[in-house]
Chain length 338, copies 2
């Protein structure tokens, strides 16, 4: 799979401003631990609080699709164990902290769950493109609501699928966390894309297309292995048209994105044996200035969980990837889906 | 263990310049996956290539302690599956890369393994302080050798213990990777410590001591739960004296550090049921200017592996920690070690 004879290479991810080490030799190292794979199958529990008919076991609903009736297809609900509290608005910086430059804010924010299907065993790639498009449109609607809170600066949309990708619930769902701060990766990406724009007058994601890294394309999107992929078989789905924020998506493009995401997840399942995975919608802060719009461009990042992070990555923020992206792209391009 | 009635808080780690969300409620969420714990016990294999008598199964030795004789206590060897290649010195930037601002360097660097004991079943906290001190002095000696290569900018020392902390070998060892670039966390920390120094005229790590966060102290070091710990029960061991680089350590201080590390790992094993863990020596780039010396200060970061990273952390670089550091410090301070 990897190319054992290639020499290692250090590539810079110029979108996220980080170095990645590509090292095919690493994939041959032995392990004296028993199987590292985590159980990714849920206990054969046919129903859970996210299932239709169990709505009363959940935290309050925010909205459903369709908007009324008991026959819902998607529910956006509050997270019962939220990381941040929606009741702390405007409490701001906390006083009386210890020395050494400590800074702390009260934990204001929103933490929601998007239940993607009423049925326990149905996963995202089982839905049809229109239904996946509806999930994207639900994210969009929720972002538009969250935007009304002045102190919310960023909304992270993400999905955990499988225990070793962090999931605690197996029923198909994603999450949205709205934060009163701009997180580090988001501000670093903004700076990095600004720098590229300053040098070239172009948006780095509009320019990213490179045939050896292309996996698939649809009318409005491309899927690629990024040149300096942090993780083996990492995939980015990027709008072909310039679009700064995810919530600019419209219904037609949402279905097109649904089709490409479905194809991508099915290919990943075939080629990589249905791995646990995460996806993240990478968008800029909610409030960007008009001068920032020409170089901000959202994308969907998909990361299959194939390796464990060790002390090197924790210490440096630099990752070791045993698979060159051009090899990953070729394999994924050629998977045939019946 | 956590404090379920406390409200969430967002703290800024002013040393590493990142936000961490403290959310005790998160520790109560259920999971419908089977046990997430990874097997941390090696297959009951009594011997491996790192054991005494198996030296011929290893990649070449760099040096041993004591320096000669077959009765070694520590061996520093080349990694058989290195992430970087020591044969690519001065090949520099690679040409002919695709567009979009791609940058790539040939993968020059060093990747070594430090075998900490000749015996398969002996782990770091089983050694006595003098022996652990010898391991630190072996790191120091190897850094001094690596420093002679002009293009090496940073050396990351790290340890993976247990499969879910990334380890593929169970025999007690650590690793050293020497890089021709300064990794992102290291440059971010340098900038962040500079900013604090600019504002206060003080080194942020000399100032960090705060009694509620203190776990233990020795003559030359303190162990603390950092105010904005990224991970539950994360511990930093910090020199009490101002010292920019790890390799300034001398033999006497190495033994004192060995004693405190031994105590810390034993406490962690008692309190947290012998978890898999990583440790990282966090030091600045090898070449810093004299003006940077007053605000660079090395430390040892220890991270027990108690949770799985999910899409939120991957997407934002912001972590959710269910355990307030003052609670972790209290528990660890009070563990009694016979
Ligand atoms: N009845 C109910 N009503 C409403 N909500 C309910 C509920 N029962 C459970 N929930 C919530 O549903 C969510 C399910 O989320 P996931 O399975 O994607 O991962 P989780 O957030 O647990 O943690 C993973 O993702 C986070 C964020 O990346 C990481 O911090 C963490 O380590 C990783 O395990 C949980 O957040 C839980 O609080
Ligand atoms: N006979 C021999 N002679 C010499 N060396 C030998 C050898 N047999 C094995 N080795 C080397 O010994 C090392 C043992 O290292 P660890 O167990 O700490 O984790 P590993 O580096 O495999 O990966 C973990 O750490 C890295 C870095 O953090 C992560 O990239 C990765 O995902 C994670 O699993 C391996 O690097 C291996 O190449």
């Amino acid at each position: 799979m990897a190319s054992p004879n290639r020499i290692p290479e250090i590539r810079k991810d110029t979108v996220n401003n980080r170095w990645v080490i590509f090292s095919p030799a690493r994939s041959r190292r032995p392990s004296d631990f028993k199987s590292k794979s985590n159980p990714i199958n849920p206990t054969s529990q046919p129903e859970c609080p996210f299932c239709i008919g169990h709505e009363h076991e959940c935290a309050p609903e925010i909205f459903r699709v369709p908007a009324t009736g008991s026959d819902w297809r998607i529910r956006v609900i509050q997270n019962l164990y939220p990381a941040l509290s929606r009741d702390l608005e405007s409490s701001g910086e906390l006083a009386g902290r210890p020395g050494g430059g400590s800074v702390s804010l009260s934990g204001f924010g929103f933490h929601d769950v998007v239940i993607e299907s009423p049925v326990h065993a149905v996963h995202l790639p089982d839905l049809d493109p229109v239904e996946i498009g509806d999930v994207f449109m639900a994210y969009k609607k929720r972002i538009e609501q969250l935007q009304c809170h002045d102190s919310i600066q960023y909304v992270q949309i993400f999905k955990n699928h499988g225990a070793s990708a962090g999931a605690s619930m197996s029923h198909s769902h994603s999450q949205m966390i709205a934060l009163p701060v701009v997180p580090p990766t988001v501000s670093t990406r903004l700076d990095s894309m600004k720098e590229y724009f300053g040098q070239t007058g172009k948006c780095s994601l509009c320019e990213i297309r490179f045939d050896a890294l292309l996996i698939d394309e649809s009318i409005h999107f491309i899927s690629i292995s990024p040149f300096a992929a942090t993780f083996p078989f990492e995939i980015w789905i990027i709008p072909r048209y310039h679009s700064s924020h995810f919530h600019e998506l419209d219904g037609v493009k949402a279905i097109d994105l649904g089709r490409l995401l479905k194809l991508t997840l099915r290919k990943m399942n075939v080629q990589l044996n249905s791995p646990p995975f995460n996806f993240m919608i990478q968008s800029p802060p909610l409030q960007v200035s008009p001068t920032q719009l020409p170089y901000t461009h959202w994308f969907l990042q998909i990361v299959p969980q194939l390796s464990v992070v060790g002390g090197f990555e924790m210490g440096t923020g630099c990752y070791i990837n045993p698979v060159f992206p051009e090899d990953a792209a070729k394999l994924l391009r050629e998977v045939s889906i019946s």
